[in-house]
């Protein structure tokens, strides 16, 4: 029972991060019908920027809380600029090209970013500095620490905020209108390019926060961390129904739980034949299963309705 509860907690924490990243995939897909495979690397850049800034500021004697807030702000600003540039350079010139073309540039951008990060930050793992004395809490035999609590709460607040922006503001209305029909939106005076840029920037800001959360939770950051995380978050977006915001949140949490419970019990289920090092299998098993049995995802519309 303790193991079960522990895996639920781990799954929720990991799932919150997946959800934030999946939102970035799904917002861009909803508006452009494009899968931004470079999004995982934006998460990595966010983590690296935040970590560098944090380490430097702690070295200068900046108080930990202030240093953390400044680093988050810097990482978000940096990632927003990066997201804007990616769209401007790699996608906008191909807006009317066949769909395969921007998919290829996306992979190209992803490789470029990984290699740039490797040149800047090196191949080694960077450890996340200890900012505060964090304590662990025991609930029914399972352990959750302050960082994990903060991750889940922050993720929920951010997602709620995003829903308000998308469903209650002029900007959000313009985003949904562009998603449905760019031509008509333009006739209503919506500047489509601007809305697309803002969408990329919003997604990238979320990615920066997610990057910081991952590295704070595991205590590590690495130039390659965005690749697998990006693929899993993409899986989460597909699971929930790509293009659907609520779907991305649901898909993220579910994928976190599936992965965590699967990893926790795979040893028992296979009589010790497979161990917890098979953790990454679950996400991609889910991806295949969704694509075979319910390609539109849990909350997705039928494809016919979109086309």
């Amino acid at each position: 029972m303790e193991i079960f509860l522990q895996q639920i907690i781990n799954g929720l924490v990991q799932g919150s991060v997946y959800a934030l990243v999946a939102l970035g995939y799904t917002m861009v897909y909803g508006i452009l019908g494009l899968i931004n495979f470079a999004h995982g690397e934006v998460v990595m850049v966010g983590a690296m920027l935040a970590l560098s800034a944090l380490t430097a500021m702690l070295g200068w004697g900046v108080p930990p809380l202030l240093a953390l807030l400044l680093s988050v702000g810097l990482a978000m600003a940096g990632c927003m600029a990066l997201g804007y540039s990616i769209e401007r350079i790699a996608y906008r010139p191909l807006r009317h090209a066949p769909r395969l073309a921007p998919l290829i540039t996306a992979i190209g951008v992803s490789i470029v970013l990984q290699n740039l990060a490797m040149m800047i930050w090196g191949r080694q793992y960077h450890s996340f500095p200890t900012l505060f004395a964090t304590s662990s809490h025991v609930i029914g035999g399972a352990i959750i620490n302050d960082i994990q609590i903060a991750i889940v709460i922050l993720a929920v607040l951010i997602m709620a905020g995003l829903m308000v922006v998308v469903h209650r503001t002029r900007l959000g209305r313009a985003m949904r209108a562009v998603a449905e029909n760019q031509h008509s939106a333009q006739l209503m005076g919506v500047d489509v390019n601007r809305v697309i840029s803002i969408t990329f920037m919003l997604g990238s800001a979320l990615a920066a926060i997610a990057g910081l959360m991952v590295s704070a939770n595991y205590g590590l950051a690495h130039y390659y961390m965005g690749f697998l995380l990006g693929l899993k978050a993409f899986t989460a977006a597909v699971l929930g129904g790509i293009g659907n915001l609520r779907g991305a949140m649901l898909g993220g949490l579910l994928l976190g739980l599936i992965e965590s419970l699967g990893t926790g019990y795979i040893g028992d289920l296979t009589g010790g034949f497979l161990g917890s090092n098979y953790q990454d299998v679950f996400a991609f098993f889910v991806l295949i299963a969704v694509l075979v049995f319910r390609p539109s995802g849990l909350l997705g519309e039928r494809i016919a309705e979109r086309a």
Binding site: V165, R170, R173, R176, H183, A185, Q186, L187, G189, I198
Partner: protein
């Protein structure tokens, strides 16, 4: 602004698609406050001309003047800003937005709030949003949509979807409202109430341009009518004269020049 000058003035507009000439040498002017009809057989170039007027197509040649300004190679959102709003022959609403939101999108052009306004929701922004919402409710009532304002556009009955498109166009505060076959698919009762709505709209000072297959509606509603055939304007006058024009009758009944 000189109010006797035409609102829209087209001079020798031509439009080619590759080797196909869709419009050649079309000149016309629309006066402020009139209801101007555009008719013609299928394929006469009505919709092409309409798309030129609303900026979806760039004319290959000719001059385009609206509200005293010349426009060349114009984007739809610039012309929307200048005061041209349109509806489509095949309805193009935002199907998954509510009726109210569809109209509020029309207000987009005339409202300001940027990214930071949207994120931080300051007082000015909230007031603007509130005013926009109230205006959208008024417009829904004005065009006669009975369903609740939070009904998704795709769930409205056909006639109301057409009205919603008109409400959305009106929300942009146009000087010229351009309607592409607004009565298409409507029954006689719906067409009659559409006619009353268009007369009401004109009485508020908005100029109306109408493409229509329903000749009876055009004749009963328009101050002046232009007839297109094979991309050329073959007549332009008050409805009674157009109705009796020999060339127009020939175009509609299969002209004598084809025998």
């Amino acid at each position: 602004m000189n109010n006797t000058a035409p609102l829209l003035q087209l001079s020798s507009i031509g439009k080619q698609f590759g080797g196909l000439t869709a419009l050649s040498d079309v000149s016309l002017h629309i006066q402020r406050g009139e209801i101007y009809g555009l008719i013609g057989p299928n394929g006469a170039g009505k919709t092409t001309l309409f798309n030129v007027i609303t900026g979806l197509y760039q004319p290959s040649s000719g001059k385009f003047q609206f509200d005293g300004n010349s426009y060349q190679a114009c984007k739809p959102h610039i012309l929307a800003q200048a005061g041209i709003a349109r509806t489509f022959q095949n309805i193009r609403l935002f199907a998954n937005l509510t009726a109210l939101e569809n109209v509020m999108i029309g207000r987009h052009l005339r409202t300001q709030a940027g990214v930071f306004g949207a994120l931080f929701r300051n007082q000015e922004n909230r007031n603007e949003e509130q005013a926009s919402r109230e205006r959208a409710h008024e417009l829904l009532r004005y065009v006669g949509i009975d369903k609740p304002a939070d009904t998704l556009a795709k769930h409205l009955p056909y006639g109301e979807q057409r009205r919603l498109e008109i409400a959305r166009a009106l929300a942009t505060e146009p000087l010229l409202l351009a309607l592409d076959e607004p009565a298409a698919g409507m029954n006689a009762t719906e067409t009659e109430s559409l006619k009353i709505l268009l007369q009401n709209i004109r009485s508020t000072g908005i100029t109306v341009l109408l493409i229509e297959h329903d000749v009876k509606l055009i004749m009963g509603l328009c101050d002046r009518v232009a007839v297109l055939n094979y991309g050329k304007k073959i007549a332009e006058d008050v409805p009674e004269k157009v109705r009796n024009d020999a060339e127009v009758i020939a175009a509609y009944l299969g002209g004598s020049d084809e025998h």
